[in-house]
């Protein structure tokens, strides 16, 4: 790491703590946007912590399912087209399993509390800092 301390997760944690501290002192519109800002910072924290592992898992899942190795964006677009064309209708259950895992991976970053307990266990709770 070329930069001095604090670390990136520490900086994010610091900013988020400040936003959380001032949010209750604000009114109406400003308070609402401060709460949203804190929520966005939480997403950034989790994406920094989990993103690389999730991306690797998603790449391998996609490669296994649609039999091609490519960048994620291209893989999702290919999968989306295949679903629409009906060519995956015969593999509906395994498609459903794949997509549930894919969506759980997104929710783990966006808002892990939203997950049903059956999908919650793997990530330790708490901030990344």
């Amino acid at each position: 790491m070329s930069q001095d301390l604090p670390t990136l997760p520490d900086l994010l944690h610091t900013v988020r703590e400040f936003v959380d501290e001032i949010a209750p002192q604000l009114d109406g519109r400003d308070r609402y946007h401060a709460l949203c800002a804190s929520y966005l910072l939480g997403i950034v924290q989790r994406e920094l912590a989990l993103g690389p592992r999730i991306d690797a898992e998603e790449r391998s899942m996609l490669a296994h399912f649609i039999g091609m190795d490519s960048d994620l964006e291209h893989g999702y677009a290919t999968l989306a087209r295949a679903i629409r064309s009906g060519s995956l209708d015969e593999r509906w259950d395994s498609l459903m399993t794949l997509l549930l895992r894919h969506v759980v991976n997104k929710v783990r970053v966006t808002k892990p509390d939203h997950l049903h307990p059956m999908h919650r266990a793997e990530d330790a709770p708490g901030d990344a800092a």
Binding site: C36, L79, H102, V103, K106, T110
Partner: protein, 340 residues
């Protein structure tokens, strides 16, 4: 770059000046605008509360202006909203009384003004505060009756809605918008595919509010006072309206009370059947709930698109983009039978 939604003081001054101009045109030179409040929420329309003071009269009014006008907008134009409000108001549906529409000679465009109705819209308060206990108990019966009366309006009166994409084929309309925004969503593709393969028999088309859910109903301790936010109105199957009201996304934590977080389906369906004379088919409502997740995801993606394109940037719209995943999750858990 469009207008930044965190209403700058510049924008506020422009709107207040424009309101004053519009009021003087209609109420006379001596009329004034007072007590202006810019509200926080409103995903599609800008909402500004104000008093018009003319002579000895003071009336609280609400200014509603379109903020999302890209060609892919799923909302009907303000002129159509205003026309519709007059029709449903005349039919005795509880809505804010339409007062006037802004026109080409006003400084503010694509907007209209309605009477202010006092009450609560915040889901958490309506669903949790002790003060609304009675309103909660009455909700299913009231909502069923209200929708039955709305769906009884002669569709000939609202023929101007018949040509909108959501009136013609709501599923095709969503697919077209998602394609225009361009972000691949395999989970939503799965929903589209499921919906295509399980389409219900076509039902007689009625006037639908289109966004009848907790958060868009203004309530007091006795129940529903006014139905707000008519920008999604279209013609369609009555079960679409029921699926939307029962969508898990609008239960606000009260997952055991599927009707908007207020109550049980049986009470709602029987109230609707008693007034309309038509039984509700739960399987058809289920199809529309799956559709509802797709539709709700579409609105979140729309807000994301408005944000990243620069049309209207905000912390909330940025969050909407990421929240699409939460809707996809509820959708898959519903299709798998884990959620009901």
């Amino acid at each position: 770059m469009g207008v930044k939604e965190s209403a700058t003081s510049n924008l506020r001054e422009t709107i207040v000046a424009g309101l004053h101009h519009a009021i003087v045109r209609r109420y006379g030179e001596a009329a004034t605008v007072d007590n202006v409040v810019f509200t926080t929420l409103g995903g599609s329309n800008r909402t500004v509360l104000f008093d018009v003071v003319h002579g000895a009269t003071r009336q609280r009014l609400v200014f509603r202006q379109e903020t999302y006008s890209l060609p892919s907008s799923p909302f009907i134009a303000p002129a159509m909203q205003f026309r519709l409000l007059k029709i449903v108001h005349r039919a005795g549906i509880p809505v804010p009384e339409p007062i006037f529409e802004l026109d080409a000679q006003d400084e503010l465009e694509r907007a209209y003004v309605v009477a202010f109705v006092d009450g609560e819209t915040l889901p958490r308060r309506l669903l949790d505060a002790p003060a609304y206990g009675r309103a909660r108990e009455r909700f299913c019966a009231q909502a069923g009756e209200l929708l039955a009366r709305l769906h009884a309006i002669d569709v000939g009166e609202v023929g101007f809605l018949a040509g909108t994409p959501d009136s013609r084929d709501p599923l095709a309309a969503i697919v077209a918008r998602l394609d225009a925004w361009g972000e691949p969503h395999p989970a939503l593709e799965l929903a589209m595919r499921w919906l295509e393969r399980h389409r219900p028999a076509s039902a007689p088309r009625r006037l639908l509010h289109g966004d009848f859910r907790t958060g868009n109903m203004l309530m007091d301790q006795d129940g529903i006072r006014a139905v707000l936010d008519w920008e999604c109105a279209h013609l369609g199957a009555p079960a679409e309206e029921m699926g939307w009201l029962c969508l898990r996304s609008f239960r606000f934590g009260h997952y055991d009370r599927p009707v908007g977080g207020f109550g049980q389906r049986a009470a709602f369906y029987s109230a609707y059947a008693a007034v309309s004379g038509r039984q509700v088919d739960p399987d058809e409502v289920y199809w529309w709930e799956v559709f509802g997740f797709l539709r709700w995801a579409q609105y979140n993606i729309m807000q994301m698109h408005g944000h990243v394109s620069g049309e209207r940037r905000s912390t909330a719209f940025a969050a909407c983009g990421r929240n699409t995943a939460l809707i996809e999750y509820d959708l898959l858990m519903t299709l798998l039978g884990h959620y009901t």
